[in-house]
């Protein structure tokens, strides 16, 4: 699965510079890309179901990693070419081995639940990619897992991989009615303590989650791929007026207020830079902060007279702070 992030996504700070080592066609429209460290070093390990953000030109897209995540020497993603999309997938499809790319460190937002008695994985189309990662990890650690995979005839990516990995625990469907029938059976026959994971187009995920809910599955056992939720979005640009000096500081999208103040040579006390510790609180004199921190109480947030400048932004074009 893919999701578009802003080019200045925070995840790309501290990113990896990798070389494209291998390109393999999965289907006429889905191509796999394997990246390695140019010096041949191992890559950071990752939680099954993780994604990376790949910079292509001025676009940055998130793609699921397809390995188990255990001590990887390479990262592999599979990309569906979307000709009328943002352009990221088409740019990637034009790359040849040897190309250098900026790839974020892996980010986990679709992890398997460690206490699950069984993992029921349900994928459609390119949604197979995080499931491949889950299946590989389950095989390596000896966890119980099965896969229901729906794809259009001739468009099934990673079929050889999943057939070898899953054996008897794989069920393939190539049309909607047989998928719905297979889904109904699977939802009714899982052992207590099973967790369900679904990835595919939004309508497909809605169908699966609705059917599971109707079949009595509690929401806490249902998991769908939520790209982008691990990061705060870069936000709208705004400016702040510093009341003591009268200076105006511009805060671009993707830059935090704290970073903008630091870039202007100002010293603000800080510790966590995550909106938790409370160290970088600043008094607000005018304007309405967009509170994104975990520090201020609901009452304090409603009062709008303070802001945690490491994560929070402005709802208006301008803020005035006592600084």
């Amino acid at each position: 699965m893919t999701a578009t992030a802003e080019a200045s996504a925070p995840a790309l700070h501290d990113a990896l510079e990798l070389v494209l080592a291998d390109v393999t066609d999965q289907t006429p429209s889905i191509r796999s890309f394997t990246f390695r460290d140019p010096a041949g070093n191992g890559l950071p390990p990752y939680v099954p179901g993780s994604h990376v953000i790949v910079q292509c030109g001025d676009k940055a897209n998130a793609y699921s990693l397809t390995g188990s995540g255990v001590l990887p020497d390479e990262y592999t993603i599979s990309v569906l070419r979307v000709d009328d999309g943002g352009g990221g997938s088409a740019t990637l499809h034009r790359l040849a081995p040897g190309a250098r790319l900026t790839v974020s460190r892996p980010r986990s937002a679709f992890a398997p639940v460690a206490t699950a008695r069984h993992h029921l994985l349900i994928a459609a189309g390119i949604g197979i990619t995080p499931m491949l990662s889950h299946m590989r990890a389950a095989a390596e650690w000896g966890h119980s897992a099965s896969l229901l995979y729906s794809y259009r005839q001739g468009e099934g990516a990673h079929l050889d991989d999943v057939r070898e990995l899953c054996g008897e625990s794989l069920h393939e469907c190539t049309d909607r009615s047989s998928f719905l029938a297979a889904l109904a059976v699977r939802l009714g026959e899982q052992p207590l303590g099973t967790h369900l994971y679904v990835c595919g187009p939004q309508g497909f995920m809605d169908t699966v989650l609705h059917a599971a809910s109707e079949a009595g599955w509690p929401a806490s056992r249902l998991h769908s791929e939520p790209f982008g939720s691990a990061d705060l979005d870069p936000g709208q640009p705004f400016s702040v007026r510093l009341s003591r000096s009268g200076t105006v500081v511009d805060v671009p999208s993707g830059t935090s207020l704290l970073e903008a103040l630091e870039d202007s040579g100002l010293k603000v006390p800080f510790m966590c830079r995550q909106g938790v510790c409370g160290e970088c609180v600043l008094p607000v004199l005018r304007g309405t902060p967009e509170h994104r921190d975990l520090y201020l109480s609901d009452a304090e947030k409603t009062a709008n007279n303070s802001i945690m400048c490491c994560v929070s932004r402005s709802r208006d074009a301008g803020l005035e702070i006592d600084f």
Binding site: P44, P45, Y46, V47, S50, G69, V70, L71, R105, P106, R107, S108, A111, V113, A114, T115, E140, W141, S220, A230, M271, C272, R273, Q274, V276, C277, G278, L294, Y295, S297
Partner: protein, 327 residues
């Protein structure tokens, strides 16, 4: 700033993580990225994730003896196996990088070689195969570092204390807490719930990304340099807290106990590794650093009664504050 008498201070004082930034102390979610060096009035600390000091062998021997005597100090729920291996493959390379003269770690796929000259250990093992280690994997990693270990699994929108090796607890019990939610573990701490400190800490931990490392300090006091002040051994150390008040040896016996706690999102399992390293120096040692002597004296004198009670220091804190402030 390094004080003028810095050179005459013992290494354990120079490297002591003195935790007070002001003359009063309240709970806060005081996390910061790790490792990073912090300078103090006696020297500084914090440039390494795992600190090895002159007590290394004796503390590890003490841990081994405690685990032999009381197996309830080590606990692991069945689903935490991958998190334990993740802990091993995360920490051994860090140790080898920080102490290259005495430790080395190499890996070829899943086959690992670990050498620790401080313990005269030289082993080959295979990741995921417990039979290739000299003892169970969780106990093995706890035999290489002075830190206590807790592992938190993340699920159902919460963190769960599902594994650990805790031999040097400051009056709590792993056997009692294992399997609890993070919020339940912290249930007895005063004030922090009204102030939402634990809820915020949990939110912060749940948002940590793979490989991210943070730290915080916590503190209490202990009579004599006793690492094992767990709930299980309370009858052995509880009475000392009253007895020390009138002891002329109080400045030597009473120790400031500081925990440097590291919070690490493990990269493969997604579990949170929580390391608790305990450092202790006596009031007598603290008095060699005048700024510390005065600051600790003021903190103890000002500390609200409920916080002193929870820390278990209310019997002797006035005596300690009076001595430190020269009264």
């Amino acid at each position: 700033m390094l004080s003028t008498q810095g050179s005459t201070l013992t290494p354990s004082v120079q490297r002591f993580p003195f935790p007070f930034r002001e003359d009063s102390y309240r709970y806060s979610t005081n996390v910061e990225p790790a490792p990073q060096f912090v300078s103090t009035d006696a020297g500084g600390w914090g440039d390494r994730l795992i600190e090895i000091d002159p007590h290394y062998r004796s503390e590890l021997e003490e841990r081994a003896a405690i685990l032999d005597r009381d197996p309830s100090r080590i606990a692991m729920l069945a689903h935490m196996g991958p998190a334990v291996w993740d802990t091993i493959t995360t920490l051994l390379p860090v140790l080898a990088a920080d102490y290259p003269d005495v430790m080395s770690f190499t890996r070829e796929r899943r086959r690992c070689h670990w050498r620790n000259d401080l313990l005269r250990l030289d082993i080959n093992f295979v990741i995921g195969d417990a039979s290739t280690l000299p003892m169970e994997p969780l106990r093995f990693i706890a035999s290489q570092i002075q830190d206590d270990i807790a592992l938190l699994d993340q699920r159902e929108g919460a963190l769960w204390l599902d594994a650990g090796v805790i031999t040097f607890a400051a009056d709590w019990s792993l056997g009692f807490d294992v399997g609890m939610r993070f919020l339940e573990v912290h249930g007895p701490v005063p004030r922090v719930h009204e102030e939402q400190i634990i809820t915020r800490a949990q939110q912060f931990l749940m948002r940590l990304q793979p490989g991210e490392k943070y730290r915080r300090t916590n503190w209490t006091m202990t009579v004599d340099r006793r690492l094992d002040t767990s709930t299980e051994t309370y009858p052995q150390w509880g009475p000392d807290r009253l007895e020390v008040v009138d002891d002329p040896e109080l400045p030597k016996r009473l120790h400031l106990r500081v925990e440097v706690q590291h919070l690490i999102r493990l990269p493969q399992s997604g579990a949170i590794l929580f390391l608790v390293r305990t450092h202790m120096i006596s009031l007598a040692e603290i008095s060699a650093v005048p700024a510390w002597r005065q600051r600790l004296g003021r903190v103890l004198a000002e500390l609200p009664e409920d916080m002193a009670d929870y820390k278990g220091i209310s019997r002797y804190r006035d005596a300690a504050a009076n001595w430190l402030l020269g009264g």
